[in-house]
Amino acid sequence: MDHLRMILQYFQSNSESVMNGICGLLALASIKMYTCFDFSCPCLPWYNMAYGLGIMFVPPIALFFCGLILNRQSLVMLEEWRRPQGHRKKDLAVIRYMCSSILQQAMVAPVIWIIVTLLDGKCLICAFSDSVDPEKFVGFTNASPVQVQQLLAKVPCKDDELMRNNTSHKAVSRYLCCWSQALGWSILLILIMAAFLTRWFRPCFNQATLLQARHWSNYIDIEQKIFEETCCEHSQLFAHMCILHFFESMRQEIKLHNFSLPSEGEGDLLPGITDQDQMNKLLKMWYYEKPPLDVSQVTQR
């Protein structure tokens, strides 16, 4: 019993810590990907918005799906949801609990990407540089609307020859960067407040239901693991008996055709296969005619 308890505790803690570890790794991978990524705004009127918003939203979606794929519990939850009822009723509270914990874990990396993007500011500057009101900035008043559009579109490209000595573009950059960082910090604050309130007030509502849901979701996870492990053990034993049965039937066959019976001295170690031809025959038989997947005769003894 103690062994079983230790093993169960190991599985339980291991599964959660593994999932938290994967979550953390994805978050770090998200930050690393952003720092390695070479952001290069096209500085063309319509392309800027598409590129900027694309870089802000497409990688988080991909990271979200990655988070779901790498989470083993998502498969367990789906199986539990779609299984036929059979003899075991389905508890929707358990499925809801599992779903919410999976989604929370999967959302960490995308949110980190979005926040890092906003705090860095390049994406928003690229996306919205041609949407600012040129009246607010000196240096754009003497140009025609089309030219203003083009100039504003080139603001994110500091190395462009038109922008190098232009102070107005720096003003636009700073303006957009300020908005971007404000948005980033606000989102971070809101999320942390939400997490704090949820964690603080959750025990006040439905604590008993929550404990039950958490227990049974752990149970389903452990049951799945033990089933896979038992299948592995079973196939090991099945294979073992199948092979021994095969060797024994080769021995029977040799007995039928040999007049000199093998001596019993070697016993279990050499089941009737005592020369090269017999071994070659055995190996050939193994390839050309694998034994059927049926060891019922052996187990009925």
Partner: protein
């Protein structure tokens, strides 16, 4: 049984984590190879496309094949596919499962290469620089060049130091445009792959869970059976060799006793275990003769010779192949090692 369970758990965990480890190493190798590779665009009109697309597509194909080569379950799959049916039916679902799981693992490194290449942008810039829309990005008032001349100028966009078309289209503008397209393609590629993987993984429990469990079990079974058979053969070979060598030494000892009458015929009862193990060979000359004989005339692979040894027979079929064994109905002895 507890010990068995722990060993099986370790083996299963080890095999999967080993394969995942290989996947991860290949993905990192792929990224590292790209960063170490010195991309150098030829900057000539038709060569650019060939070079750019070649670098984009040929290494992933090589990495995909390498993924199969490094996977030691490939031989198991091919063996199962090509074996004669015999007494055991072949299950196509199991073969499909094995192939799919191998192909999925092998696709990771090529996908990483394509992704890194697209996000970096040099390949697409090199391949498609002659297709840049000069009318929208370039200088409309520039005197028009012939098609060939235009292509020659545009082909030099990736090579900043020899680019001579600043009046036609500014180099940075073109490179930014192409890089933007390349990165957009890269991120769309990632999104497509992850969406596909997510759909495949999440739709499976909704439709074919029972069939999947069956295929997975039997594919693991085939793997385990193969390993166990190899182990059993190895043990048999060890016992065979032991008995064979023992018989050889006994034979030598008998021969020597027949030749040299003064050697004792049998070991004295009180000589002890160590003397018994010497098998009658007690001096250097005798040992040398035994070793020479082992080299010049190895004993036949037969442990119960009817009369004298009949010489080496590596490739001779001793008995004619028998008829196919009928399904065995007799009860078999059950050797239990558990």
């Amino acid at each position: 049984m507890d010990k068995f369970r722990m060993i099986f758990q370790f083996l299963q965990f080890n095999q999967e984590s080993f394969m995942n480890g290989i996947c991860g190493i290949m993905a990192l190798t792929s990224a590292q190879m790209y960063s170490a590779f010195d991309f150098s665009c030829p900057c000539l009109p038709h060569y650019n496309l060939a070079y750019g697309l070649g670098i984009l597509l040929v290494p992933p194909f090589i990495l995909f094949l390498l993924g199969f080569v490094l996977n030691n379950n490939v031989s198991m799959l091919v063996e199962e596919w090509r074996r004669p049916q015999g007494q055991r039916e072949k299950d196509r679902a199991v073969l499909r499962y094995m192939f799919c799981s191998m192909a999925q693992r092998a696709m990771i490194a090529p996908a990483v290469w394509v992704l890194v290449t697209l996000l970096d942008g040099k390949c697409i810039t090199c391949a498609f620089c002659t297709s840049v829309p000069v009318e929208t990005l370039g200088n409309a008032s520039h005197p028009s060049l012939s098609q060939g001349e235009m292509k020659r100028v545009l082909a030099r966009i990736p090579c900043k130091e020899i680019y001579d078309g600043q009046e036609l289209i500014v180099n940075e503008v073109a490179i930014r445009y192409l890089r933007c397209i390349s990165q957009a393609l890269g991120w769309c590629f990632v999104l497509l792959l992850t969406t596909l993987a997510f759909l495949v993984r999440s739709l499976r429990p909704c439709f074919t869970q029972a069939a999947f469990l069956k295929s997975r079990y039997w594919s693991h079974y085939i793997d385990i059976e193969r390993k166990l058979f190899d182990e059993t053969c190895a043990e048999h070979a060890r016992s065979f060799a032991k008995v064979s060598i023992q018989q050889f030494f006994e034979g030598m000892s008998t021969d020597l006793a027949a030749v040299r009458c003064h050697l004792p015929r049998k070991v004295p009862a009180d000589a002890g275990e160590a003397t018994e193990k010497l098998l009658g060979i007690t001096d250097q000359g005798t040992m040398n003769m035994a070793l020479k004989s082992w080299h010049r005339c190895k004993p036949p692979l037969q442990l119960h010779p009817p009369a004298l040894p009949s010489g080496n027979s590596w490739a001779v079929e001793g008995q004619p192949p028998t008829h196919t064994p009928v399904p065995r109905r007799e009860t078999a002895a059950y050797y239990s090692w558990v």
